[in-house]
Amino acid sequence: MVNIIKKLLVSLFIIVAFVIYTSFKNENQQEIAVLPPPKNNQIIPAVPTTTSTREPVTSAPVSASTPTPAPTKPVNNGQYKDGSYTGPAADAFYGNIQVQAVISGGKITAVNFLQYPNDRETSIMINTQAMPYLQQEAIQAQSGNVNIVSGATDTSRAFIESLNSALTQAK
């Protein structure tokens, strides 16, 4: 009898711990606010930043295998059509991101993360907070007048030039 109660208590503890863990994980994911722009903006039309993704999020845990069904609310007075929309997987610099936006009553009621980077310690640290929006390009020279130049401290310029010249002479 005592053994059965013990077993029950242990399994109850594991279940409770798991529920707390999942809801905690879920909350972390919902913290993610700013999204990189989807490559095809017809799939997710202009996902609003910070505020709107936070307050109306549904309580169901987020998972790639169980996408939230499209809610059927009668009134639509917002700018979006109701339903669930999945964006393409986009390279977010530190890994791929794929989101699903759920529109209900014309408004975004949830943004689910189907993919997000979590393979490294640092990525996890970044993911638990709002995700920034980053862009990339190959550098190229921009010409034009400037008043000042920002660069790494360059006291050794003269030294390097002098050394180079010395080395040239040494050849």
Binding site: Y94, Y133, Q135, I139, V149, S150, G151, A152, T153, T155
Partner: protein, 252 residues
């Protein structure tokens, strides 16, 4: 009026474009940098920081500015998840925070003297105020880390600060406190624009130590924008950075 002097082992430049610049004003700014150097230079045997590192001054006898810098360093360490750390093997080197702090204080000196249009630059980190002599906001070039005679971006700043951390000139001068023996090779240059040069400088130092993740860290902080260049010449930049960039047709 524009003058440059070598202080703290780097060129310090002050330019004031207001009318009726008093000839002593820029001198007072240079004097201030000399004062800071005398207190915080780890290369000087007589500096307060050297004496602290040698255990010659008790904490209760530290100068108010020294206490202030240690307080700001502790604050920054916390805000950057430990990536900003002035302590290395029991020795303190606060140069990663002193520079931006000193530039900002120097700019405040000019403000108190009544000037409105000026900049203070030390070793590539800059605080600007007002406009240049063409009545534009100050134009700052971000140096190409692979070619020092070229800029990769030109930004226009209104009462802001900008700082660049890099490996390309002095060699490795920032390290990752979590992996002190591993050199930071991915990122060659990281430029931060902030509400002032103190913020820009301390976050540039900390984010540079984070390697490629540094730019994402900057992107999360309100009021900061960053432009990172990796060793392959690829740039990654924050969402609002382009708002500062001078468009090609606005040049000159």
């Amino acid at each position: 009026m524009k003058q440059t002097r070598l202080i703290m082992g780097m060129p310090v430049t002050v330019e004031i474009v207001d009318k009726n610049v008093h000839p002593d004003s820029i001198e007072k700014v240079f004097d201030y940098f000399q004062y800071v150097d005398g207190k915080f230079s780890t290369y000087k045997n007589t500096s307060e920081i050297t004496k602290i590192n040698l255990g010659e001054i008790k904490k209760k006898d530290w100068s108010p500015d020294m206490k202030k810098i240690f307080k700001l360093s502790a604050e920054t360490k916390k805000q950057t998840n430990g990536y900003f750390n002035i302590e290395q093997a029991g020795f303190f080197d606060p140069s990663g925070i002193v520079k931006g702090w000193a530039i900002l204080n120097a700019a405040e000196l000019l403000k108190k003297m009544g000037y409105k249009n000026y900049y203070v630059e030390a070793g590539g980190d800059i605080q600007v105020s007002g406009k240049n002599n063409k009545n534009q906001y100050w134009r700052i070039g971000i140096r190409n880390p692979f070619n020092r005679y070229q800029n990769v971006k030109i930004v226009s700043l209104k009462n802001r600060g900008i700082a660049t951390s890099g490996t390309y000139i002095r060699g490795q001068h920032v390290y990752n406190p979590y992996l002190p023996k591993q050199s930071i090779t991915d990122v060659v240059s990281l430029t931060i624009i902030g509400p002032n040069v103190y913020e820009a400088d301390r976050y540039a130092t900390a984010a540079f130590a984070m390697g490629k993740n540094g730019i994402a860290f900057i992107g999360k902080i309100k009021g900061l924008e960053g432009y990172m260049i990796d060793n392959k010449g690829q740039a990654t930049f924050t969402g609002g950075f382009n708002n500062y960039v001078v468009h090609k047709n606005e040049n000159n």
